[in-house]
Amino acid sequence: MRTRLAGLALSSAVLTVLAGCGLSDTDSSDEQVTTTGEIKGTVTLQTWALKPKFTDYMQGVIDGFEEKYPGTTVEWLDQPGEGYSEKVLSQAASGQLPDVTNLPPDFALPLAEQGLLLDVDQADDKLRDEYVDGAVASYEFAGQTGVYGYPWYLNTDVNYWNSELLSQYGLDVTKLPTTVEELVAQARIVKEKSDGKIHLMSRKPGVEDLTQAGVDILSSDGKKFVFNTPEAVAVLDTYRDAFAEGLLPRNVLTDAYLGNMELFKKQQVAWTTGGGNSINDIKVDNPTLAEKVVASPTIGTPPLYTQGLSVSKRSENLPTAIALARWVTSPENQAAFAEVVPGIFPSTIASAEDPQFSVSDGSNVGDAKKIAFTSLAEAQMLKPVVVDQAMDDFIKQQFSLAISGEITSKEALDKAVDKCNELLND
């Protein structure tokens, strides 16, 4: 009996301790932290999939920092691309977030909400003077006061066209579509002349397309989704009609991100969107196609993709961590990075006049780079960071149903808004 009781007591004790951990809350206190002081000591820097391709560049940047600030040591951690979010999540949950971490805005938001990231606006007077507004705004979140990351490199989308297919099916490469309506009209010509074998359009709309059409996704206070408007209905209706006409391949309904680029590389579609350096990827996968590619500005407002460096609020060496984040995102280091990675652009105001971005060498790679860089001036984050994965999945599912004609566009939008609001308030 005594043995049984002891066993029960042991089990209960372990279970009680473990169950207690179930809802343990991450500390979200608003404690004040010291951000000024001597720049020395050891800090950790975590990047996202830069090794081994950009090891030399990053090591050079780190060496430069240690040289500029004697007595500092940077421990560089580079995480693989796959599973990066899970890695950061486990680091944050276990209190092991590196001092400086590469976090895009959607990754930074939940960490900022939990009080794990430093408000760099408060810690750094010059932030807004030195970085472009749109990039800084990427790290400002509704319901939060402050900026939770130094913008690092930026990107946007441009249009890529297969000039050979366009000419073959009666389109003029000098008169590329600049509106969705023109795109649909040209898609009709391609479909008819290719007997349905080639498509021009190959993606279904997402939240981004609603923003481009002038639809507000969130209410002004950021507390409610409001994108079920007549303008949004019109966007979905346009795609639904195009789908019914056979102007889009059927698999757009189950397509994942970059599906259109894959079809473009296979020369099954004549148009895709991609980043400023996508021609380089096309060159690797289909070198003969790359020569025929023509770039043009994106239709509507260009999207803004931001990468940034966030500083952990729990860093034991905040002055050095801030200095490191600033150093990595400085105009000089960003310009050098953009040279190593064609198609990405610096987030600093000082880089605006740099001819390496604003002047094309006449090649289609140079043209795409110039178009992307010029587009950045008006680029916006088209999908609010508060739209999480589950919301985005649900929205895409409803849009698929609307485009396939199973439900009306209004029904799809209403359902999507209801579900997103439910998840937002979860």
């Binding site: 005594r2 066993g7 999540l89 949950a93 309904l253 698929s400």
Partner: protein, 290 residues
Amino acid sequence: MKTQRWFTPWLLLGPAVVWLLVFNLWPAINTVVLAFTNAKPLGGGSFTGLANFERMLNDEQLVYALVNSIVYMLVCLPLLLFLPLLLAVLLEKKLPGITFFRTAFYTPVIASAVVVALIWTWLLEDRGLVNGLAQQLGFITEPLPFLSGRWLLLFSAISLTVWKGLGYYMIIYLSALGNVSRQLHEAAAVDGAGSVRRFWSVTVPGVRTTMLLVSVLITVSALRVFTELFVLTNGTGGPGGRDMSVVMLIQMYSRGFTGHLGYASALSLLLFVITVGPMLLLLRLNRKAA
């Protein structure tokens, strides 16, 4: 001389018990706890009572996921229960070169589910081999929507599961067939029973216990299907998410920094219940039959 104290077994069992509690029991208990909260991956969840379960009642996606998972199970179960048995009966014969066929049928089992699903995607897409051949031969004029039709997609995934599972269950049946009495077969043959009659009257009763085991394995794996549907639909669960399974739905809610862990845990509990239900039923049926 007394050398053993009351706590000696506990000392010996201790590490294993702790391991069991931490890595087996704890995640299960934690899932139950989370199902009654609105927890997020970074913590901060609060107790919400039965709210997650109430939400299930109005969740249209859950209805699709449940219907798909159950259809998956109902179609896979008979096919994978009898086709591998027939295959095993055929391959049981000691003929020259039979090992080659046994290995050939087992090959899909060894292959990664993701790789197999990707190969099937290429076969079944609009411009894939199957549609291409069918159009060339004039059977169809338009490609069949294997990967974008509501039910056709589900049945494409079921076909993949059956094709991949045949070899696995065949091996289980092959070992069971070795225990079926040869004398009974001979006696039945002497009595004039044909091969079909002998199959139903001698072979099937002889492997009944194995069939029960196979039924349980098929039921559990069919209700937990993920990879086939995920890869064939590029992770979208089919047009409008109407071909997703319960596991895909759980995955959809639990992903990323803002994962809705509370609801995902409640869905996990539901899946656990609907998985255990058919298993208990099968065991009960077997006990009755015995």
